[in-house]
Symmetry: C2
């Protein structure tokens, strides 16, 4: 019985929540995953009650698969990184709704950087539907970008997709010259720019982002429009790294679904510094949860 | 009595409707305005029933001030240019709701170009909250742009304001260098980029456009950010004119609230071709209504 208590106290819980879904992992004192769960969106800025309900569902799934009681679960150290947690009020709202005595809730930028770098210093460019950059040194971590589709997120999938549609309409009008990619994009809207107009007025960032893989592939194949967009995204990454104080040779982790695809468009000295992500944002949450036990 | 009938048959009605308000003018056979009315928004794509109600209110005001009976009004030739009329279905919906036997409903781009050029050929760049360009030759009129805030409207007030906010946040992060204008803009959001983020996620194009006068003024005063934005807008105008087939020396009318401000940023040969707008979109509607009498 005493042994069981010790084990429970060393259990850690990592939580990763974004605009499309959330994931929960439970690890034992040896770091082995003993339970997992996943559920729907968990961005509390979009819909806090819905985010809480999805988090609770994923936590309950993970608890059952780990064969823990609710009492055991409550004593574990938990760390949650959630998209859209930009102030203490939102963090508290979520923390108050989750069944843990020892819990921290932060923005998922933190868990994403820790997941990518683990204990190392260096810079990270997590680029998926959205984008941001971070640089960790012995003095701490600085963040840049992450302003969302309407204000920022340059180089992101949503940004790439949106730029491609703008470019396609300019080609239709003869302001720019068509390439294979813009012709293919136009064909995807039945050859009618008015369908692109309708799409743009209702599409979510994730929907714009669905065009990104075609841009990545087009650039690999030498398409001029696609290459121009990837290069513009890479230029933003370089300017952002410079603003963060990045020094040549420091480890640079291009993470997320799109990050690694920008490597080709960076100058050689940056390409040489590129490292693979150690793990995901969920791994980062587990690492940070382990730190809460101290 | 016969004379009164003749006069009524020669009466023309011009209607101009946009996203912020609508205007109606009634002119007699001599072209003299004898009645006017104005009411709220009349963009049928946003809200067709509301647009109709506002148009009817403005028409009724104009009828009363012109001292016409409803029967007289019904016989007059009327021409309406309304924002958001992009297909025949929308045009018919509005036409069916208005009390005229002889009425045409088109997009306000048409009345705006006719208002600016009257009977002349040439190119027009009507630039206000949104933007588009048109070129009229002996072969007809070609239109370009006007894709709205999400997809196009480059050089417009909404575009200028949005670009300024993007630039300001890049300056806050050290990716770009602050100028007087970005510092002043940041101060307008209590020095906190998060307030710009919140604004961007809820602002309408017209609200973004409210920042445009500061950009125009900043550029006049030599501010580097402001000058860069005005130059980028002017570059779009030049590329669009080229796509329309504009030949040097042809009349170029920069209309709308912002259009005239771009003159300074065009090359000398374009500046030399700039003409003043003959009249407004409402004047264009009256001209086109006169054509309906034939």
């Amino acid at each position: 019985m005493a042994k069981s208590m010790d084990q429970t106290e060393n259990i850690i819980i990592g939580i990763d929540g974004g605009g499309t879904g959330c994931r929960v992992a439970i690890a034992n004192s040896g770091g082995k995953i003993i339970g997992e769960g996943r559920a729907g969106p968990a961005n509390p800025t979009n819909n806090a009650q819905n985010a809480l309900a999805n988090l609770l569902e994923a936590i309950e799934q993970a608890r059952k698969s780990a064969r823990l009681t609710r009492t055991d679960l409550a004593k574990a150290a938990a760390f949650a990184g959630l998209a859209g947690v930009r102030d203490d009020k939102t963090a508290r709202l979520i923390a108050d709704g989750l069944p843990f005595e020892n819990l921290r809730v932060v923005e998922d930028t933190v868990t994403s950087v820790t997941g990518a770098l683990a204990a190392k210093n260096g810079s990270v460019a997590p680029i998926g539907t959205g984008s941001f950059l971070a640089r960790r040194t012995k003095d701490g971590t600085k963040y840049l970008g992450g302003w969302g589709f309407m204000l920022g997120d340059d180089a992101s999938g949503a940004w790439l997709g949106h730029q491609l549609l703008r470019q396609t309409v300019l080609c239709v009008e003869g302001v720019e010259n068509h390439t294979g990619l813009t012709l293919e994009t136009l064909a995807g809207y039945d050859g009618d720019a008015r369908n692109i107009y309708d799409f743009c007025n209702r599409a979510t960032p994730a929907e714009f982002g669905k065009l990104a893989p075609k841009i990545v592939a087009g650039a690999t194949g030498g398409d001029k429009t696609a290459t121009g967009l990837m290069q513009a995204g890479a230029d933003y990454i370089l300017r952002a790294l410079s603003a963060l104080g990045y020094a040549e040779g420091e480890a640079l982790c291009l993470s997320g679904g799109l990050g690694p695809h920008y490597k080709t468009y960076l100058p050689p000295q940056y390409r040489a510094a590129v490292i693979k992500a150690k793990g995901s944002a969920l791994d980062g949450a587990l690492l940070l949860a382990a730190g809460l036990r101290v």
